[in-house]
């Protein structure tokens, strides 16, 4: 019997290939999105749960002042001065540990590598129960002992026991391996980061930081970086709320006023939620939304299936009537129809899994997460989903068709339910609202991103090749040698050193004042350490005064001198209150450097405003000075027609000058892309979603059209007999099919308007709201709906009315 059902189901699918294909595609879209949502949620919720204390480890986050104009609402860490305050003031806290990631050149024996190190307070070993292969948790107690993971041990020391081995930082500072821990699972916040993937490789004691880098963590209020977390372990008796209250107090008592311009509060958060922090920055509970959306999409797909199947089942009333007269009971008929929908769902599930296998790697590479479909563990879930969806989607049409009286069914006068038609129409309207609004938002986001990309072309980013990590003392002596070597290469047009290059999302600021000794009302300036070739290399015109020069002593910043000539941009001229760039020449401003005394800056030239930070930032006030030290980067301008081999020439030149240091070179465009990729990802994922949603909505509309086609055959026949022409019928049908889409469009555009204005808020240089695009999306949705229903409408319109009205 069961085999017979399956056989009939497969034959019926084969007979109605179009309907079956549409049904399978629609359901598989719904299933794929639902499964993906589930997978993502599961991944996010299981994150870090394997640490013994996971439910009482907290991280302290920074709440970003909304006036700071940095485009995010929160950052995942706080200044390193905060940790010691917690330790000193909150006795109830069990342990506090800060981490700080820095990249170094490390040498193991003869070999050199660039490697991320994670500086950490030794308490981190108490907070997290790392698994030790060698050594124990006292490893970070000495200031030279480090902890490495299995992967790192293997990479640097092979299979040997690494305890007691030495690694050297920047050819200068020796550290000794004191413990080896097992690698952490992929779904730990230590390993997954959306923007920079910097897995936990090596732990170094925090108290080594000052010695190695001249950064003083315990008193530093001026530095926060993504991924530098501060952990707190609370006893079971205390909760998040308690810690939040305490942290509010610490903020009030200790955070210096000028730092409140960036962070205006601390936020306490469970460590297991750390990985979802990226979503919080956007201010939306994305995981929950993804889960709910996935579920809703699946429901919509089910309803679409039900619509289409109900429409289709009407054509089979006769078959059912016949089966009934031959003795089929309601149970057998129900079983037949439900097995049919189960078969469809089964195919849809298979297709959904194929789609998932294609999407997951893309998602992983874009987000740095490591989602994977584990078929063995998820098999019960997949099976249950298939069965529930199949039964749910199939039961309404099955019920409808099996309850009809066989005589009525054979006579084909069965009343075709119309009361639920507004529900169907609203479902379609809802789907179109959703998809058109997403489509419109995608267009806006896309246009804004294009704008960002275009305005980034103000710098010749394809022509500038940058060299990183030059600010090492041993390298500085030979900076000029490098410059000369590289300028000798054909096609190289210019060369400059600087502390930062455009599009890097870091900034260094000072508080300066126009009035000597009055530092109460200071202005915040971004500073950039450059040399005399910077303006030429980056094509920035000098609008007043002169460029800085090597030939004028006061143009070079020497700390002991307490005064230097400087270039400013036009924005700084405005901020300082000078009427014009010319007026600013020769004027001075001051910076109070505390113990180091007061530095006097004399403006000798004004550079045109260029958005150095780019992307979503506004042009900020900058000043530029030349200090022949702490140049982290070099920028090489290559002529437009240069062959690709010029990069090799640069590498050869580097080898000659710095044989001990690997070259860290890349085009400026890559620096831009590193951040721009986030915006691109937003567009791509939205676009994917929009395509899915539009596809589903179209399937829904197709189902509705098929359903109405069945319902309207008689009416259309009558109208034609009464003299309606094919065109009049076509117009009538298109109008009826378009109604849900028509009322959906203004709602959708309203939503899109709201969503895109919110997105545009992120950007300093905004496009005007593209009304044309919004309307285009609406018209696009309408056209799509017409294309979808056109075949149906055309077929109904041209049928000979006698087919519909015949009484036999």
């Amino acid at each position: 019997m069961f085999n017979n059902y399956i056989k009939i189901a497969i034959r019926s699918i084969a007979k109605n290939k179009l309907y079956a294909t549409i049904n399978i595609l629609g359901l598989s879209m719904g299933l794929a999105i639902y499964l993906f949502g589930g997978l993502l949620a599961d991944y996010e919720y299981s994150h870090d749960a394997f640490f013994e204390n996971s439910n009482r480890i907290y991280t302290i986050r920074g709440k970003v002042n909304s006036d700071a104009n940095v485009g995010v609402g929160q950052i995942d860490g706080v200044q390193s001065a905060v940790g010691p305050l917690i330790k000193a003031e909150l006795n109830e806290v069990e342990y506090v540990a800060r981490t700080k990631i820095r990249e170094f050149l490390i040498s193991v024996g003869e070999d050199n590598y660039y490697q991320n190190l994670r500086f950490a307070d030794p308490e981190i070993m108490e907070i997290f129960n790392f698994e030790f292969v060698y050594g124990d948790k006292s490893a970070l107690q000495s200031s030279t002992g480090i902890v490495i993971t299995e992967t790192i041990a293997k990479k640097y020391f092979g299979d040997e026991n690494p305890i007691g081995k030495t690694i050297t930082l920047d050819h200068e500072h020796d550290l000794t391996v004191a413990a080896q821990i097992r690698d952490l699972p992929a779904n730990s916040h230590f390993n997954s980061q959306i923007i920079l993937s910097r897995p936990l490789d090596i732990l170094v004691p925090m108290n080594a930081m000052e010695r190695i880098t001249d950064f003083v963590p315990d008193t530093n209020w001026g530095n926060t970086s993504m991924g530098d977390l501060t952990y707190v372990l609370l006893p079971i008796s205390l909760d998040q709320e308690w810690l939040q209250t305490q942290m509010d107090g610490i903020f009030e008592r200790h955070v210096p006023d000028d730092q409140r311009q960036l962070l205006d509060g601390f936020l306490v958060r469970l460590m297991i939620d750390a990985n979802t922090a990226i979503w919080d920055m956007l201010g939306i509970p994305v995981i929950t939304v993804v889960e709910i959306l996935g579920f809703m999409v699946l429901i919509i797909a089910c309803v679409n299936y039900t619509n289409l199947a109900t429409a289709q089942s009407m054509g089979r009333a006769r078959e059912v009537g016949l089966r009934k007269t031959l003795g089929a009971g309601p149970v057998q008929l129900l079983a037949q129809f439900i097995i049919e929908s189960l078969t469809i769902t089964f195919f849809a599930m298979a297709l959904a899994l194929v789609v998932l296998e294609m999407i997951i790697p893309l998602f992983n590479s874009a987000t740095g997460k490591i989602l994977a479909m584990n078929y063995i563990d998820t098999l019960p879930w997949l099976l249950m989903t298939t069965i529930i969806v199949g039964v749910l989607a199939g039961s309404y049409p099955a019920y409808l068709i099996t309850k009809t009286n066989p005589i009525e069914a054979l006579r084909d006068t069965a009343r075709k339910g119309g009361s639920a038609s507004w529900v169907r129409a609203s479902m379609i309207g809802f789907q179109f609202t959703l998809s058109v609004s997403i489509l419109a938002s995608v267009l806006v986001v896309y246009a804004q991103n294009k704008q960002v990309e275009e305005s980034s072309n103000i710098f010749p980013k394809d022509q500038i090749y940058t060299l990183d990590r030059l600010n090492v003392e041993q390298m500085e002596d030979r900076h000029e040698v490098l410059r000369n070597e590289i300028l000798n290469i054909p096609y190289v047009e210019d060369f400059t050193f600087s502390s930062q290059v455009p599009y890097e999302q870091t900034s260094s600021t000072i508080n300066a004042s126009k009035i000597l000794n009055d530092f109460d009302a200071t202005i915040v300036f971004n500073q950039l350490n450059i040399d005399h070739h910077f303006a030429d290399t980056y094509d920035i015109p000098i609008v007043a005064g002169r460029n800085i020069s090597r030939d004028i002593a006061m143009d070079t910043h020497i700390r002991e001198r307490g005064a230097v000539n400087t270039l400013v941009n036009e924005m700084t001229v405005k901020e300082l209150g000078f009427a014009s760039a010319e007026d600013a020449i020769g004027q001075v401003f001051y910076e109070d450097e505390g113990e180091r005394g007061i530095t006097t800056y004399t403006i000798v030239g004004v550079m045109a405003d260029r958005n150095i930070l780019g992307l979503f930032n506004v042009v900020k006030p900058f000043f530029f000075f030349m200090r022949d030290a702490s140049y982290r980067l070099a920028s090489i301008k290559i002529s437009q027609n240069a062959p690709a081999s010029v990069v090799q020439d640069i590498e050869d030149a580097w080898e000659n000058v710095y044989p001990d240091y690997p070259m860290q070179g890349k085009f400026l465009d890559e620096t831009f892309q590193a951040t721009y990729i986030i915006f691109e990802m937003a567009t791509k994922s939205l676009a994917t979603f929009a395509i899915f949603a539009l596809f589903l909505a179209s399937i829904g509309l197709f189902g509705l059209a098929a359903f109405m086609a069945e319902q309207k055959t008689k009416e259309i026949g009558i109208r034609k007999v009464l003299g309606a022409s094919n065109n009049q019928i076509l117009k009538l049908l298109i109008w009826q099919f378009s109604k849900p889409v028509l009322w959906a469009t203004p709602i959708a555009l309203g939503l899109a308007y709201f969503a895109s204005s919110t997105y545009l808020e992120f950007f300093a240089e905004r496009i005007g709201l593209p009304y044309g695009m919004l309307i285009g999306a609406g018209v696009g949705g309408l056209l799509l709906s017409w294309v979808t229903v056109a075949t149906h409408a055309f077929n109904i319109a041209k049928t000979n009315p006698i087919n519909a009205l015949h009484y036999e």
């Binding site: 006068t413 119309g418 008689k714 009416e715 026949g717 009558i718 109208r719 034609k720 007999v721 009464l722 003299g723 309606a724 022409s725 094919n726 009049q728 000979n800 009315p801 006698i802 009205l805 015949h806 009484y807």
Partner: protein
């Protein structure tokens, strides 16, 4: 009014050709009341569909008001049809979602008639068939006889000169059947040409002429005295 000359209609499926009408020659004058009779499958409905211009003949000529419409396109036929021909069906074929008055008005919607005149004509014709008190009702609230009266009203509201009735009493009981036949007779007396397919000899008696079909041929034609 109309003349069918050597009219043939054949249906072709993959392998079999079925001849529904074979060399039919019929002439119907203006103001006639003609009944078409015959067993199931004899071609009655096919004939009516061709006369009603819902279907086209395979060969032969169909002169409607001296115009050979046999080769006309669907659209051309539609124009003639809506001006001259009204239809009545066995299963009434009213639109369930429209009220009685709206169903009748439907026949005028495709005639470029202003709304006020439409209302007037619908009201007149409803009076004529005695359904005015049900104007706002939906078809499902009416009895079969009442529904068929609405259908009759719809068939004549456009001042059609010919009504084609396909078993108009087939779904009605005797009393209601008589009522509808009386109405058709009255329309005929007022000058409307009526062509009716029926199985009922007693209803065929309302007609002045009866055409008997068998296997696609006209076998007998009889005139009532």
């Amino acid at each position: 009014m109309l003349k069918l000359q050597d009219l043939t209609k054949a249906y072709r499926t993959d392998e079999v050709e079925t001849v529904a009408l074979n060399n039919v020659n019929i002439e119907i004058d203006h103001g006639e009341f003609v009944a078409i009779m015959g067993p199931s499958g004899c071609g009655k409905s096919t004939l009516l569909n061709i006369v009603g211009m819902l279907d086209t003949p395979t060969s032969g000529h169909y002169y409607f008001k001296n115009e050979d419409v046999a080769g006309y396109s669907e659209a051309q036929l539609g124009v003639i049809r809506k001006q001259h021909i009204g239809f009545i069906f066995q299963s009434f074929n009213l639109i369930d979602e429209l009220s009685v008055a709206e169903n009748i008005e439907l026949a005028l919607l495709y005639h470029d008639i202003p709304a006020s005149e439409r209302k007037e004509r619908v009201a007149t014709v409803m009076d004529k068939v005695g359904i005015a008190h049900r104007a706002k009702h939906m078809p499902s609230q009416l009895s079969g006889g009442q529904q068929q009266r609405v259908a009759v009203a719809r068939a004549v509201v456009g001042n059609q000169s010919m009504i084609l009735a396909d078993e108009p009493t087939g779904n009605l009981d005797t009393a209601h059947g008589q009522e509808v036949m009386g109405m058709l007779q009255k329309l005929n007396e007022e000058g409307t040409t009526i062509v009716m397919v029926t199985h009922s000899p007693s209803h065929a008696d309302y007609a002045r002429r009866t055409i008997n079909l068998l296997d696609g041929h006209v076998v007998t034609e009889s005139m009532r005295a």
